[in-house]
Each structure stands twice: as C-alpha cells, then as structure tokens.
Amino acid sequence: MPRPAARNTSWYFTSPHFEFVAPPELQAVAVEHDVAIVGAGPVGLTAALELARHGVRCVVLDEKSELHDGSRAICIARHSLEIMQQLGLSERFVAKGLGWTHGTSYYGTRPVYRLEMPHSRQERFYPMYNLQQQYIEQFLVEAATVDSHIELRWQNRLSGIELTPAGATLAVQTPAGSYALRARHVLAADGARSAVRHCLGLKLRGDAHEGRYVIVDIRLASQYPTERRAFFDPPANPGATVLIHRQPDDIWRVDYQLRDDESETEALREENIRARVGTILQMVGETAPWELEWWSLYKAYTLALDDYRHGPVLFLGDAAHLVPIFGVRGLNSGLADAMNAGWKLACVVRGLAPSTLLDSYSIERRGATLDVFHNAARSTRFMTPPTRGYQLLQTAALSLAVHGESTRSLVNPRQSRPYSYLESPLTTQSPSEGAFEAGPAAGAPLVNRCLGQDTFLLDRLGRGFSGLYFSAAGDIPTSLRDLFANLALGDEAFQPILISSRGSGGAATASDDMSAAYGATEGTFYLVRPDRHVAARWKQVADTDVRQAFLRALGN
C-alpha cells in the first residue's frame, strides 16, 4: 500500500497477524456448512456476528493474513452505530471514535454552507463518528474470534464456485493446498473486486464519474474540532476541491481533487503529495510539524449488480455495489446490507421462514443502493462537475451562496441516511397508516428516543421481532399478550416495549413526548423487525392484522 518511503508501517496501528489453521476439509473430513461468508472485512464480519446473534453458525474465508492497511472508510453513521449496539459492540466504537455533528463548506476560503446534522438529546449516538477502518475491523474480528458460532479461516482464498442443488461448492486455496468447501448458503462480502462475483461471471453495471481524488492521511497534532471541512476552488487547490476530516490518534484525512490536466502518476509521487498537503495545511493555518501516514487514489463510481441474490449466493457491500464517497455511504450501506441479509438468512437456516425471504434482501437493499445513487450522483456532480454547464452552475451557486441563503441548500453534501423499505414486499401498509401524523412510517427504521437517564428506546429491542405498544394506563390487554406469544422467532421471544405515561403526576413525561413523536394514541402499535425497521403500524392495534403483518415480514 502507498506509504512514505522512509517508513512503511503505520504511525498508529499495528495489525495482528492471523495464522493459517488447517480446516477439517484438508484432512478429508466431509463438512457441510450452513453458511459460508467470503470476505472478513467489516461487512462480512457484521453479517457473521448477526447470524451468530440468531444462533446460526458460519465459516468466514479471507485470503489475507492481516487487517486491511490504511484508514479507508472513516465515517460511521448513527444507523451503523445502532447496528453495532445490537451486536453489543457500540461501546468500543464510541470510546475510540470521534463523534461529530457539524461541517462547513467554503468557496475559496469564505464559508458558504454550515452543515448541521440532525442531532438532539433523544439520540444515544452522534450523527457521525470518525474512526479508521483498521479499528472497525479490529473490534469486529475480536468479537468474531471469541464467538463459538463463527469459524474464521484466514489465508483461505476463493478460486472458484460451483452452484449445486444443495447450495454451493467453493474451491479454496490455502498455504497447505486446496480443498472444496460445501455450504448451503454463501454471503459474498469480498469487496469491490469480488472473486465470487467474478467466478459467477456477474458484472456491476452503472457509471464512472468525472474527478479523481488523492486521499492522504497525515499525523498532525492539532486542536481543530472534529467536523467536515469542504473547500471549493481554494487557493491551495485552484479549480478543484479539498476535504478535511479529523480521525483519532492525531491522524487527519486530507482529500484533494486532481485537476483534469494532472497526471495520476505525477500526483501520486511522494514529494508531490507532501508539497500539495503542505500548501493545504498552510491555507488552514496549521503550522505544527506533520508526517505522511498513508495515501490512495479514488474515483467515484455508481455501479451495482442487477440482482443481489444469485441462487444460494447473496452479495453484500462493495461486492454488490460501488458508490461515491461524498455522502459516506460505502461502508455504512454495506453494514446495513449485512444486517438485512443476516437476520433473514438466520430465519431461513433455522426453518422459520421460506427461502423466498432472501429475495426481499435484494429488493430492499438494491432499492437502498438506487436511492444512494440518486443522492450520490447529485453530490458527485456538485463536487466534481462533469461538464462545462455543471462547472458554471457550481461556480454560480457557490458565488451566490457567499452573500445569501438562496442557493446554500445546493451546497448540502447530503450525508448518509438510512433507507426506508416503504415499497418492500415485507412491509404492510395498515388501514390506519395514513392516519399517522408523526413517527417512522411502515418500512422506515425506528427513530431513537431518550426514555430516562442513559436509557433509550433502541436499548430495549429484542433479538427477534419487537413491538411498541402505547397505553396511558400502562397495561397490555390479555388478548394482546396472547398475540405476542405468537410473534416469537423460535426461541427468540417477541419483545414488547410498553410506552406508558403512568405515574407522571400530570407533568409531561418522556413517554408523553415519545407518544407525540410517534403519532401515537391509546392502543397504537408498531411492529418492528429484528433490523429495527417498522414492519407495520396501527393507530389501534388489531390482533389478526398484526399476525398477518408478522408473517408477511417473514416472506410468507
């Protein structure tokens, strides 16, 4: 990986080394796995941990003997932290990551847009955390290593895949020879150059965008707060853009766009990187000594597979789609893929849902990708104007934004937001859906609420399905209790969450506020999937409707 000639290791991170351990197949022991995951990056490991949370075993193959080098994906969105909370890992991310809420865009050196991400005391997590991908992988690997459901096989490289009536047979190369691995289901989480995708002859389709960025990490002691800084046409990079993000361990990310007439080879020479970064640091007033840490070249793509399911294989993360970085949707959407595929595959493996449930993975997550494309293509056209028309409009919008609000919304970087499965076949539009004036709609993810001292709504979710029941009196009727008993997923009991305002003594309580925020009245009910998305909601709960919506959410 590109590192300075004088120092080829990281200033802040030393990867563990993963030994090769001969798998049973190499001793000619026949094994049939329920699930094989290809790729032990953040997406594959999140899927493995979600399967494990539901009691499903898997084997994870990765050709590497170390974690990925370089900070790579550094912005983790709130909804990804909420995933990590479900996996029991959010505390490590919060402790190490740098939470942030703000950003500033500059035209030249003059501020033209203040990014304020939605945040309030109702949220447990910041809208965004900056954390190097090595730490993300480290936290996930450590959790996976101690989980008895997960078998990590390092230095195991996939070289072929054959689909069979029973699933798939993978050809795997190791330092001790090759073997065939049989699995009923395969999750392909092996990144942008997915070997699974290649072996199956599948192609990503879509667009490559204008604009190339040099992505540079430096070590610099600076007290500048954690926020996103974007410079359009700054003196330090005329005619192009610069992005600056703070990371833990005194590491700073400096991304700068190359002008069309610049050669990549020249731009990536170490002395040229040093010179360009030096000029940028001078511009922002950083005078302390600094060191180069790592760099890379980036181009924006909007590419995706036509279908994320191919028989027994589901494609996740970069193996399924490549998105531009400007809205920080790459890793974040990959983690949402992992969660979506994880609980559904667990239901199928455990015999709790028909295998057609897996078709909804592609429908829901490909829909999310297309939504990302729509937003990201727009921010990409603004960040790196593809034509003279867009170049003129960008300059005009920025120039007007210096003096007034009128065009400032055009400068909004449209950071990652969770996607709503509104049109999913798993989502039920209840007769009273249209009567709600507030709250997450059917298909949308739950929105967190503070329910007391360090107590939040999402803390109370169960492993299987959960449900929010609103009652001022604080009682769950007997008929509803009987219904809840029928909403279990095997040994994963349905988790009722009672929102009541009893004992408030007349004063508005957190529960009252939450009822208002969720558009709830007496007897309102939200049915929530294991991945925090609302399957359906009712102003007044009706038993039979809930059971039907539950079955529908399982692909029946």
């Binding site: 030249g108 005619g239 003096h403």
Partner: protein, 67 residues
C-alpha cells in the same frame, strides 16, 4: 432568504440549466443565458426583484477566473 422554489425543485433547476448550457455549446452559451434571464424576468411580479437579482449576481464577478 428564498421564497419561490422548494429545495428539490431548485436542485432540478440546477440540473436542467446545466444540461441546457451544455446543449447550447460554448459558442452560444452567453446568448442562451441572456435569453434565459430575460425569460425568467418576464415571470417576475416586480422590477425590484429583477434589480435585486442583477445586483446579487454582479458581486465578486472579477474575483475569480471564469471556469
């Protein structure tokens, strides 16, 4: 302060104008933009709005080289 278009409509206008400039081509883009401004002026309800828009657009023109 903005009164007329919603944020998403403004984004659409951004894309439509950019594409139209590209269709006009470099030789005709100034004429296209002048016609567009005049056409938009006819939609305004008062000359004051046109004057204000001209003043706003005139700011910082010489500060940067044209793209």
């Amino acid at each position: 302060m903005r009164t007329g278009l919603s944020e998403s409509d403004l984004e659409q206008a951004y894309d439509l104008i950019a594409a139209a400039i590209d269709r006009a081509g470099r030789d005709h883009e100034s004429l296209f933009l002048a016609k567009l401004c005049l056409a938009l002026s006819t939609q305004m309800t008062s000359i004051d709005s046109v004057v204000a828009a001209i003043r706003t657009a005139e700011q910082d023109l010489r500060e940067r080289a044209p793209p």
